[in-house]
Amino acid sequence: MVEPVNSSLGKMLLEEISPVVMVLCTPLVEETFLKNGLSFVETLKPFCNFSNIDVPVRTSGDQLYRLKKFTLRLFNASDIRQPNVEVAKQRLEHVITQAGEKVFHDLKSDPPQITDILSNPESEIAPTWFQYYNKELIRTLSFSDHEAFDHPVACLLVVSSKDEQPVNKFVDLFNTNRLPSLLNDGVMDPKILKHYLLVHDNQDATTERTSKVLSEMRSTFGNNECNLLCTNSSKEGNVEHQANPWASFKSSVSANKLGCALTGDDIVEIKDLMQEFASRHIIPHMEQKVRDLNQQISATRKGLRNQIKTYGGEKEKTMYTFSSTESQIRILGDYAFMLHDYELALSSYRLISTDYKLDKAWKHYAGVQEMMGLAYFISDQSKKEAEYCMENAFSTYLKLGRAGFQNATRCGLWWAEMLKAGDQYKEAASAYFRICGEEPLHAAVMLEQASYCFVLTKPAMLNKYGFHLVLAGDHYKNCDQVSHAIRTYRSAISVYESTTWSHIKDHVHFHIGRWYALVGMHDVAVRNMLKVLDCGNQSKATQEIFLRDFFEIVKKTGMKHEVVGLQLPFINMSSLQVIYEDHRTYASQASVLVQESIWQSLEDDIIPSLNSGKSNWLELQSKLLPKKYKESNVCVAGESVKVDLEFRNPLLISTSITSVSLICELTSNSDDLTVNKEPSSLSVGTESSAEHNQRRREKLVRLTVTPSEEGILKIVGVRWRLSGSVVGVHYFQSTPGKAKTNKGRRKNKLTPTDALKFLVIKSLPRLEGSIHHLPEQLYAGDLRYLVLELKNKSESPIKNLKMKISHPRFVNPGNHEEDVTTEFPECLKKGHEQNFVQSETSSVFSFPKDVSLQGGKSLRWPLWFRAAIPGTISLYFTIYYEMENVSSIMKYRTLRMHYNLKVLPSLETSFEITPSPSRLQEFLVRMDIVNRANSDSFHIHQLSTVGCRWGISLLERVDTILPSKSLLPGQALSCHFMIKDNRKSGTEEEKTISNPPSQTDVKMFTQDDDEKLFDIVNSPLANFHESERSCQETSDQLSTNTVDFILISHVAKSSNPSGVADIPKILSHHSCHNRIRSSNPLSWSLDGPQTIYHDFSTSLCEIQLKLVIRNTCDGLSSVSFNTIDYLPDAAAPIPSSGNQSGWRYVPPSRETPSSMESSPPFIWSGLSSTKVQIQPLSTTEIPLQISVFSPGIYNLSSYELTWELSGHEDASSGTCQGYPYYITVLQPK
């Protein structure tokens, strides 16, 4: 800690609380000194500070001490009065304005860094003009009536030797009428030390006259009290002083001129004069006065305590003249203070303090307390006492209201200085804060001083520093001190730069930006304003103000700003997508968005694999290409590279973004080093030239660049124009992207530089492709004829086309180029001859070798499409082709097409097949159809079995159960069919006729008779059926005993709007692998005559019968046959219990016997029990015989079959009762 005397407060006190010398001089004296550009007082001022005057002093005690530092304050008599408040205020304002002009040119530079501020030495943190301001501020309180240290100690009377009657002049000068009023009205003691000085101007006065006058003076006023000052020794008046002593006191005039007529000898003379004046006259005088007063007071005070009031009563009206005891004590204290006898000063102050307090003379009391505090401080006594006194004085002044505020300010300044000297910076800051007052300029200065205190606290309180600077700045601005406002905000920016306190940052940058604009520094203004553009968290009104002011300032600059890192709009770098085509080309935007892995897995089969399965063609080319390009992407000259980028407006108000464009560089191959920044060989597409960014909206912008030459293309950044005035630039590389090099990846979520660098290769053919009329929404089963159109827009032909489709179940390529004459769907009907197509075994469709696409030609290829299953289907097509006649590093390309379909459910069919109970090889089919569509009705056209094996016939006309012919949404329908196995079975020869092919199809409605049936054995239905078969495979696929059905329907015309936009013409529903359901593995029938005429008179009737048993299952079956010679029950046995829903086959065409009254017994006369082995799916016959004794109707159901399955996975066994079989035996007439 610094010694109090050497602290800044110590220096201040030495300067401010020091003896006052009143100067009275004649106009001629002033004239003499004005030759030097100085007044008389000003001339002497630099020589009034004595750093080591070394005068022995004895005040109250017997102790002698030596005074070292000493200062005199010289005032013209006219200045010895309380300063005019208004004038003082103007002077203070002038100080600030002047300082503002000085700092103005520094404002352009970058704001200081916080580390710089902290590393500054203590003395440099606050600008130097603050000391000056504080001094001026303290001076506004000079010559107050409650203090005595401004009372003149001595009077210096100065007369020029050129004056007429100089001695008389001296007398005139000290004429009471011309003395300051303070001396006249009793505040100050007019009886002061007088000293007489005769000025001799060496330039124009004669020495004789001067010496005559001097001797006259000496005889009049006494030898000791008179001095001679010879001055202006330089005749030419052009002396230049090194380190001009007046410069620091007078700044307005050019400093060099000051004292131009004063030679070094003159200065020495002045110095000696002042030294003598101080040490010989003033100090002894004060010493004497202190001793006198001390004596007088101690005498008066004895026993007279509280009796010394001059005036009683009302507080603060109390007027203490210099002669009152209180004033005398105060004078004693102040004199002692000025003579550095702080003990005596303190004791005097203490003495008077209580008196003033009792008198309620608060101003006097506060003044004394203030002096006590200072005395405690400067004498390095109790720090606590010092602060207590200061605080007491301060708050007492404040209690006086406005009247005391000026005093409180001075007290606060001293107090703050005291705290600073004691390293109590935080408290000092609060002291400054307390003296802010209401006057804004004053407050600004105090706040700024407070802010510097926060820097000096340990640890530094930078947040407080920033806050107080901002407060100060606001006050400066209110007083139009813009450069000071900028200065403080500039410093505050360093505090807030790194924070995320958005309101604060916006406030600081916005205001400093505006102020910079006010002082005409538009570029700096714009720089600051740019930082508030991303003000999404502000209210809408604020955002509007921010933007409005920003654009105003930009307009004022009158130039086009190109701003790197403009924050409006926000560029979402994670949205950056680069879409380009190398050997992989895309038919549409939809296909670009598909994951690369899907394409890769699809293309595995058709892309020629090189070294290994993993290698891509780029690696092969590594020999051809310089290594550094190996990892860059490849694109083709003339083909555009697209960049998708999302712009986001963070504001609540809309902003307009125009002229969005990419910044690209193209380095041509031939000359590797020249970077073609303004490339003529590069066309940069500007999409969305007038973009209106809505509030709080994101907007995806697609930008394209098309290189037209080979070389290296780099996409550097993006440029846009904000509201038609500011051009924003964003460089992609500047964003630290994740260093994830996914080479070969098309989409790069983030931006490694590699992703934005392209190797441009020579122009190549590029195939364009599309599938015409592919609906987006259709019904399941919808069968369509589509055309794939491929266009080769380049010059050179392509060859070796191959195609792979992700869903062969849905799409079947035709096998020759489109025949435009064929009508759909008529071409699918019978009678239209078509080439039979063998179904494609490979999933890759190779176009015929002779198909090559010449330049500028297009190819139309038929595609059969069938919506196989309901749901959302993504169809992927990839077409491989090779370039002909092109020597390029790229040998082939692929065209990728992607379509999304929504397949709605339509008709759902289920089939149940049960064996016919009475007929071998015949089966009953129940078809259940449900219309699952939401809005459309369907017509059922045709049901077909697939293959030649099964013949199909209707059991009932559907017309009868569904007269409307169309199945409404949600409606269900059951129809019954019979199917017949046409296959040659076992050893039997009777079922040898194979059904003609027409029998495999059945029309559902008779009305449709004129319509032809669809041919299901030809392409494409057959092909689709094959796919369906493989897709519908079930677990027990081994079973051969299955039936496949194809139901063909079409949408009924209705007035209601259809569920799909494009009404299908034909729908095919494939149901494969329908198994025959039955409870036992056998089917059998009794074969024999139905009616027999027999003459029973001759013999009993023997009838030969045959039981045909068929093993319908896959295992070897052993069957034992037993006859029963009695009827177990009158009721006919029910062949099976597995029947559902009450429908049952009733054998047709058998006339039931009319009466059952006579049922004479018959006997099984042939073999009554036998056991046979039946091979799987084969038939065997058992001959039977019955004997009948009388005519009648006989039911031959009295037998049972016991079967046992073996060889099958699950061996099983069971017993079946015989079916009723009626035989009529008649007696011939």
Binding site: P459, M461, K464, T500, H507, A541
Partner: protein, 102 residues
């Protein structure tokens, strides 16, 4: 009584992660930024004080004119440094409590 208040949660390194202007007084346009300034400045005081006391509630640690700053020092071990509190539910709760007690 009409009053103005601001509730903020500040994470390590003085990063504000939640702020709510509460209180019944009519909203002044610059209230939010004034509050931010005051609270930001108060952090200096809090940082000094936090190490000298074991109390978690620091009542009236700082003031600016008639605005008083009180601080709770809390620790959330589950907090991911730097993330903001964006829960609307939390926001609603804070404002409801403010209405109840202010």
């Amino acid at each position: 009584m009409a009053n103005t208040a601001c509730f903020m949660i500040v994470a390590r390194n003085d990063i504000p992660i939640y702020e709510a202007e509460v209180g019944s007084a009519a909203k002044r346009e610059d209230a939010a930024q004034l509050h931010q300034f005051i609270l930001h400045a108060a952090l200096d005081v809090v940082q000094d004080l936090a190490w000298t006391t074991s109390a978690m509630f620091l009542k009236s640690v700082d003031r600016f004119n008639d605005l008083v700053v009180s601080v709770y020092i809390l620790l959330n071990p589950l907090y991911l440094p730097g993330s903001r509190i964006t829960s609307t539910h939390f926001d609603t709760k804070v404002r409801a409590l403010a209405r109840k007690y202010l």
